[in-house]
Subunit: 345 residues, 4 copies
């Protein structure tokens, strides 16, 4: 049994890690830290965990964490980058769910996050934890930077097109929408039910922090610059991301060929599911499950391809993908602990 | 007092007409028809109308309708086109909320609606009821075809850009989302709360019936062909449309200039509201109100402009716009009966 | 035109007052105060008000407020009781939407609100603003204490039974549920969409602050002590209160007689609507409207009567009732500005 | 591996059985029938099942079903009672999720369901599938009648009080609310999102079909007649039942004693969880999980006890309890396949 630590366990990605690891056969959660809730039982804060854990939040104790085989950071940005160097030095491997190690360029990171990076020397070592792109490196990594939720859904939708060189990389469009849990468990007026239920709006269109991450990843795929217009929206629901992607096709507009391309690309991927032509993804089908479901359309057989990509932002977009990365790092079957069926209806 | 008839009053656009006309000073609802509910009080089916109407649904009686000054068709397509000729002959003016007279080309209409048009001779006479484009013709019209909900939100967002010739008309993208009331009050499994709440999906991306209407309207503005990639989505809420529009700018990418363009274009429009830069529209701000709120972004100062446009699909997207058209036709102040404030929160 | 001031205008009852007064013919909002938002336009915070008001929040200025004919307090408790004496002294009349003057017994108030009352000398003068009970006193009042949202729905449902002496007053049960807007616009984790959507729970069953207000009101009706078991619940939606009331009948269990009793009691009440037998109230029918809809059942013809009572917590449960009280105080038609039709669907 | 058949698999309890059995180690779903969808893959209708099943709906074939060890009926009432006799004769055991065998008195059944019972001779043999009351009989049963969703939540809340003789059985009150999935996957206007979202209402207060089942079960516990006033309500959400129960205490009003009583009663029950005093149940904590969470309050230390009881109507209220019964019948660990953690947030 591998020993697991979770830093920052009171947020939604923290409780989701606990949910997913509750019946994982090969790991044991040894510590979950929270300064604010230290001493409180996790199932008091999260009553869905009653009967599944006999565990309390603890102060973030360096020695305890260093005794773990793998530590997850389920924290806001700016926490992991200060603690990870010490853990790595102690031989503990790290899966960071925050944004701290996603961007390779420290200056770019600083521009978007408004402060200097605390451990820039690790940026080149950190492996971007999108298994569909970097499985081999993840297996060897000491430090994995889990992708953001939007970047997961959007990259998985564009990757096959860019790999095959089929679309204009200078004019990629991503219109995406997320459930409110993506904003985390923070006391903000903007996230009240009374402010967000029964309404829909875009936000961050002039520049969302996930944009540089998306463009970095897609530029690597393309082997050259890409420009993505990314507009996120807030859905009046708790979980789920739906990305609607638009790209201008260079040549063929044959849907069957594109469908075949996607199916081949993801044939061996356990957690990316290309739907049959004509079946559209819906977020509820992957609710609670570590799945990305993808579908393709070429409207009116014109020159624009539309890719629809859905995930649960807390699972394939965060904690599920983190567990997937951990499984790869530990040499376990990749789907261990990740066989949950989507909660539909 | 003008005498008003409503055909097909049991659907959501019917009850919404009654809500808006309840305290309209210059008109009186003389008849509301429904074969299925004939004889039943309207406030029994719609308890929000209790105390506001002493009225029952009646059989669709041609003489009664012909005695009205204006008749609204709040019906599915394929009803108005059979009854309108007779009403016009009797001197009654018609505001059709259905799709029957929106498309000028009878062959095109037939291709999308799957049947021959019953009164194609009226297609050239019918005025497209988007007051922001056709106010003068509406004033004189015998027959007004109210725009669809998506077409209203999408056209109002693209019109200033196309009029000014600022964008590539061959690659317009409209990613839009609607509340479930847009699907009407029909007993379908797909529209159950258990099927649609707490989920989000696209639909009709390969070809939605609003596409030809949108392209027809925008081509007229452009003075040449346009191609719109239109992807509608279903929101887990009752009312509201949010359209997120993308267009590639030919030249300037100066947001201030674009903002000024939109403000000028809609300065005198009572029901189109260009928000200040940085303020994003949200559907709840126009819930229950005959308003379209619009905002502009040019992300990263690149070559793509994003326009966000919101309406209440049942008001500015249907019944409110219908009343606006009626006011224009009757020479009344355009906002008569349409001063409702959006229900926020 | 009467001059109106609103203290504490950034909360939901404040914006709702503005919505209702936007087109009230006989009053004008002269000032709306907010320390936190002073100087900011009201329609920047509340975009539904765009086009309806040219008004900014101002510092709470005593002279300005004293120059108003009527001042509304749309504040948390503990604000009005400090400012009202000065306003009354200046001849301004006050409608308080907060809890400060609802309880006549200062000691009881202190027990439930955890602090001494700042102006207990006014408690006996304050008129409880339930027009269906105290219309004549309201007309003469300098200070009206608007009932809480739950107390409005619950008292209107029990009053006819207690007035007629038909039920056991020692065992009244009120199981009620409220939309999240009842908790106000405060940044609390508990009120996030991610915490409250897609879930349902009771709260405050061991003692909610509305309990002493309910029992005070019903004891006056009964002319003796009453005991109410009151369990509020939180609904995953924005607006609406539904109270399900249970009482043990002393004698008759004849539903027709009870139905007749309720219809007679509320026959002349413009804002209480007793539904026909068999028609159950639903909160959406009164959404945005100053209405209470009530229905009665005697299940299985046994000895327990069930009364269902619905209001919009922000309208008949707060701001609408406040305007109704203001109309009465100013000698205006009681329904002036309050003819909105419920937003259904 | 036991061979499992499911009759009527297209409804919500059918897909929920598939979700729960997907990774059950000791059983295999051999057949799932649906006349309407015969030949269609289950994961086409329910895309959450993609990757978990390679199975299509089949015609209801008597021989195929008879070859199963256990057959679930996930059907509306009036199906099982016609097919069960033949299956029992073939040696197949049956878990019926419908109402057909819940009521022991055939005349009473007929009164509430409006038709004669087709196999009344089995009513006395059928075991009521509430393991917390009938575990031993279930283990031996050929035919188990799974309780309804409301009856599960309500009985589990009242049982300890009645067993201990602490409350007046003639005046039990159950105010309960259910998510819309309780109404099943039927195309009815009343269940549309546009009709039910953003609203709350009671229904069936004059007589719901779960009432006789509740009273039958509680009368057995009480050892004498009981009278329950049962008012169900419809929640604007998909899953979850919350029952708020009220009973008049005969003597003690000591909450600690009552708390202890409940904890003792359910100490060894794997799927009933008595929360610590002060912690209220919320439906989201049991969403997707086979759990009933219960809490107690004695408001104001008066003579009325309030019990709050929550379940997921599709799990402990239907398919989860059905699997629990199957496990007991097959001598498997009772929680096999039922260790899902509630999906919170």
């Amino acid at each position: 049994m591998a020993k697991i630590g979770i830093v920052g366990g009171t947020g939604y990605t923290g409780v989701e890690l606990l949910r997913l690891l509750a019946h994982h056969d090969d790991v044991e959660v040894a510590a979950i830290t929270s300064r604010a809730e230290a001493g409180r039982r996790v199932d008091e804060l999260y009553p869905n965990l009653r009967g599944h854990y006999d565990l309390a939040f603890s102060e973030p104790d360096a020695a305890l964490l260093a005794s773990c085989d793998v530590v997850f950071f389920a924290t806001p940005h700016n926490v992991a980058m200060n603690l990870v160097p010490e853990l790595l030095a102690a031989g503990t491997r790290v899966v960071d769910l925050s944004a701290d190690y996603r961007i390779r360029d420290a200056a770019l990171w600083s521009r978007w996050y408004g402060e200097p990076h605390a451990s820039p020397e690790l940026l080149s070592e950190a492996v971007y934890g999108l298994p569909e792109r970097h499985r081999a490196e993840i297996a060897q990594a000491r430090l994995v930077a889990c992708p953001g939720c939007y970047p997961t859904a959007i990259q998985l939708g564009f990757i096959p097109l860019l790999e095959a060189g089929l679309v204009d990389p200078s004019h990629l469009i991503a219109s995406a929408a997320s459930g409110a849990s993506g904003a985390g468990r923070q006391a903000k007026v903007d996230n009240l039910l009374s402010e967000t239920a029964d309404s829909f709006k875009a936000y961050g269109a002039s520049g969302h922090r996930h944009l540089p991450e998306i463009e970095q990843g897609l530029a690597e795929v393309q082997g050259g610059p890409v420009a993505v217009t990314f507009v996120p929206h807030l859905l009046p629901m708790v979980r789920g991301i739906h990305a609607t992607l638009f790209a201008r096709l260079n040549g063929t507009t044959d849907l069957a060929a594109l469908q075949n391309l996607f199916e081949e690309r993801y044939r061996d991927e356990p957690f990316v599911d290309v739907l049959p032509t004509g079946m559209y993804p819906q977020t509820r089908a992957v609710k609670g499950a570590n799945q990305c479901q993808i579908s393709l359309v070429v409207p009116q057989d014109r020159d624009t391809v539309v890719v629809m990509s859905t995930i649960d932002n807390l699972v394939k977009g965060a904690s599920g993908q983190a567990v997937q990365n951990m499984n790869i790092m530990l040499g376990l079957p990749e789907n261990r602990g990740l066989t949950q069926v989507g909660l539909l209806p």
